[in-house]
Amino acid sequence: MIDIEKANTTAVERMMEAHPILTGMGKAIDVIPGMKPNLLLHAGPPVTWERMAGPMKGAAYGALIFEGMAKDAAEAEALIQAGEVAFEPCHHHNAAGPMAGLISPSMMVYVVENTTHGNKAYSGLNEGRGKVLRMGAYSPEVIAKLTWMNEVLGPTVDAALKSVGGIDIRTMLAKALHMGDDGHNRLDAASQLYTTALAPHVARVAKNPSTAYEVIKFLGENALSILNPVMAAAKSMTAAGDNVEGSTIVTVMARNGTDFGIRVSGLGESWFTGPAGMVKALYFPGFSEKDANPDIGDSTITETAGFGGFAMASAPAIVTFIGGTAKDAVNTTLDMYEITYAEHKFFTIPYLDFRGTPTGVDIRKVVEKGILPRVNTGVAHREPGVGQVGAGVVTPPANIFEDALVAFAEKYGY
């Protein structure tokens, strides 16, 4: 007879005790298990090319151009149609990518190691805001930037990380939550901490001063520099809670722009999916809802790990996303306690008297209370090639938690 409480305690305890250290970077094909020369990893649950969302298709074109496998979108499309390219979720390879989440074989990816349990997780380099691959843009300047990132930024950051001896992401995040970050949409503080930690080592390892200048400037100006390492860290934490027999804790929440999918610790590899929602968003000048793609990206791994939108009470500055007051940010966090199993041991919220962040979404609680996990996210244009058009708030579809609960009941005989 399984003991759900015991199983959940184990799963959440493992997630919290995971200690992610950012150790360096490497080429995806060299470091990510199961990576193949013709394989593209993407955000969210599995999806066929036919059902794939515009921005993800755009990112796939861009990735193939970047890889030199196609010279333009038309060639890329032909290659894909000819069945020459395989697609698999990042989550099937211990990786997590923001928005479209495309990782191609030659891309430099961050390597994060959970030193408590020994598992590793991966994520690419963050391109900053504006026209970027992860939002579905693939114009020549996007590809040029990717190439620079891969050839200059990546190797320099890798050398700097090795020089600094690795960066403790858990500690950095805990600090950033006290500095007004939520760890997902607002990472201003953490990105600064990251740049500050790396800068002296970049200066030491860079080929020349102008490279050091470019790298530090790029990292420092991008308030999302740390997003990808944070996502890899979150993946390494939640993966530590995977496959605990009898646990109802969610260990993956991810979207591919078409579907929102979750995985549950006690239900192994199964995905439970439903339509990705439209984001209630504020739009950049000239864009509106008509342009928006549904919810997309693996960045919800941060909420899965117990921060991000769940830690909004730490980041009152981001409430304008939801058109509310600072109190609404606090209320969002308080609501998330309703559906989580524990309060985080290491991530705390000053405003709530240093109460731990809500950690470990429990499908039982989600279904019983009808409260869905809160997701704050960027919005990509629905067509390939355009990029980001806004940012806002969305929730997963309710059915995926209900389906998971029914599957759990069937598997365990309830």
Partner: protein
């Protein structure tokens, strides 16, 4: 003629999300066609160019500059819109945004861990589920909701009594806990009278009358109208009596009920007898058996119940000395045998014993159902009138001839299930000249025989007569007492004494067979804090009484989906 106007503000930093909000507000102004509010970065200027909002002025903006551009129906409208920017920038959302409310009992308990009580007034279909959750969380339940099934009521009350918790209800309208009113309750002064009521307005009437008469109430424990039904078996009512009997601040207990099931009422009264405190009883429509039996005082109305309680607080009855010899009996000794010579005395004994024993068999029964099949053979509790015609055919009346009675006395004394034997000794003209001289040695013999069998036999007797009778009352009493007989000249007193012994010997520790845990008094005595699920007015009422309260923003579990609800419930039960 559409016009575009721009404004550049240096050194004014705003979060991009904040700017998007401002932009949306500007674009929403009447006559405004499009608006751009961004920091003057190259990327943003490109965006503005894309939607034709880039002017030479904007082109010069630096990344630290706030760029405001409006395209409107006319230049005047555009200028007017820009003029509104400061107002929009400083505009604040209402400072009084709603207080956060927990959306589940679980979270509410976390928010207010001191709460001992959960008030539930959600729709009946969901009420039992919420109550079950409250009990799981170790809380007492005030269950206002109606339309809760009897089966749910029974299961909730079995859980609660096994955990030492109270479930007041379902359909419990009112309660008073240590001076705090729950649900519909009156502002009643705190005092030494505790009330248990299976009648909402009955509780209000009694407690209000107590207050009006200058008295006060410690607890008003509501049980719900069905608690005294056969099925529910007064689980909460008995818990209530137990709480009040142990509560040091309660001096007098009042029991109020709408017409209860007779068997259950008897059980409740047996529990009340052991309360160790005066108990005033008003079971509406139940005929009064007596004004007072031991510590029980029977009131004919709600008002009288209140009066009697107030009076009993002022003038507490003197406790009687002397305890019952219960521990002397052997296991298995539990029956009464009354061997009477007087018909009326036998009838009265049957009548009084109704208050103590479920049934008494007799050859001349009050209730025909309990007629002995064979007058010569006793069964369970039995009263035999040996003066009946069947015994006097060809024989003297037992008031004159003791032979038959002595034989029956010795016979009954041999029965290992017999605990108490009662005799009546009626003297006076025409009676046996000295009955005690024959009865006393027989009693000694019977007691000795019982003792030899490892038992204790209690023999009690009423002696009717006067000191001027030829047999002399005192002389008769002395002889009987010398033989170890418990004697009184009042038939009632003897019967009640016997009744108490038998009640003690026949008491079942838990009539329902379910293990019950006493309610923890210290929890009840703490200052009350409550969690309210349902009618908001109940929360408001508590706040007015300065009771810390959390209102749960409750929604039906799993959106009311039965399949999911049952899965969740099964997961909780294991």
């Amino acid at each position: 003629m559409p016009a575009t106007k721009a404004e550049i503000r240096s050194g004014a930093y705003f979060d991009s999300a904040f700017l998007m909000q401002l932009q949306r507000n500007l674009a929403a102004l009447p006559g405004v066609l499009d608006a751009g509010v961004v920091m003057g970065t190259e990327g943003n200027k490109e965006l503005l160019a894309h939607i034709d909002l880039l002017s030479p002025e904007v082109e010069k903006a630096k990344p630290d500059d706030l760029v405001l551009v409006v395209r409107a129906e006319s230049e005047a409208v555009a200028a007017g819109a820009l003029g509104k920017v400061d107002e929009l920038l400083t505009k604040r959302k209402s400072a009084v945004s709603e207080e956060h409310r927990p959306q589940s009992l679980e979270t509410a308990v976390n928010d207010l861990p001191d709460a001992e009580w959960v008030l539930i007034s959600v729709a009946g279909r969901y009420a039992a589920g919420v109550a079950r959750e409250a009990l799981r969380l170790g809380k007492h339940v005030f269950l206002f909701s109606d339309n809760v099934s009897v089966d749910d009521e029974i299961s909730l009350k079995q859980i609660s009594s096994s955990k030492g918790l109270l479930v007041m209800g379902p359909d419990c309208g009112t309660a008073i806990i240590h001076g705090v009113g729950l649900g519909f309750a009156n502002k009643v002064r705190l005092g030494p009278i505790g009330v248990v009521a299976a009648a909402g307005t009955g509780l209000q009437q009694v407690t209000s009358r107590i207050h009006q008469m200058g008295g006060g109430v410690s607890y008003g424990i509501g049980t719900g109208g069905r608690d005294l039904s056969e099925k529910v078996g007064a689980i909460t009512f008995k818990q209530g009596i137990d709480v009040l009997s142990r509560d040091p601040e309660t001096a007098v207990i009042v029991l109020v009920s709408k017409p209860p099931a007779p068997r259950v009422a008897d059980e409740v009264l047996q529990v009340a007898r052991k309360a160790g405190k005066p108990v005033v009883v008003n079971f509406i429509a139940r005929p009064l058996a007596a004004r007072q039996i031991e510590n029980l005082y029977f009131a004919g109305s709600l008002d009288e119940a209140a009066q009697m309680a107030v009076e009993l607080v002022k003038n507490p009855p003197q406790a009687k000395a002397g305890s019952l010899p219960l521990e002397r009996f052997a296991p298995g000794q539990r029956y009464f045998r009354g061997l009477f010579s007087g018909g009326t005395l036998a009838y009265e004994a049957q009548y009084i014993l109704q208050g103590y024993l479920p049934r008494v068999w007799a050859n001349a029964p009050l209730n025909k159902e309990y007629k002995l099949a064979n007058s010569l053979i006793s069964q369970e509790h039995t009263i035999v009138d040996l003066g009946e015609d069947e015994f006097t055919v060809g024989r003297l009346h037992p008031m004159m001839d003791n032979e038959l009675r002595i034989r029956r006395l010795l016979e009954e004394g041999e029965d290992p299930s017999v605990a108490v034997i009662m005799l009546d000794v009626v003297i006076g003209f025409g009676s046996h000249p000295d009955p005690a001289s024959e009865l006393a040695p027989a009693v000694v013999k019977a007691k000795k025989a019982a003792e030899a069998g490892g038992r204790y036999l209690e023999v009690v007797a009423v002696v009717t007569g006067t000191g001027e009778d030829p047999q002399n009352l005192d002389h008769q009493i002395e002889q009987l007492k010398g033989a170890g007989v418990w004697v009184s000249t009042s038939n009632e007193e003897v019967v009640r004494y016997a009744g108490q012994i038998l009640q003690g010997l026949n008491a079942q520790p838990t009539p329902d067979g379910a293990a019950s845990t006493p309610v923890d008094l210290t929890g009840l005595q703490k200052p009350l804090a409550g969690i309210n699920v349902g009618l908001e007015s109940f929360s408001e009422n508590l706040k007015v009484q300065n009771v810390p309260t959390v209102q749960v923003d409750w929604r039906p579990p799993a959106g009311g989906n039965d399949r999911l609800m049952s899965i969740l419930e099964r997961m909780k039960q294991r």
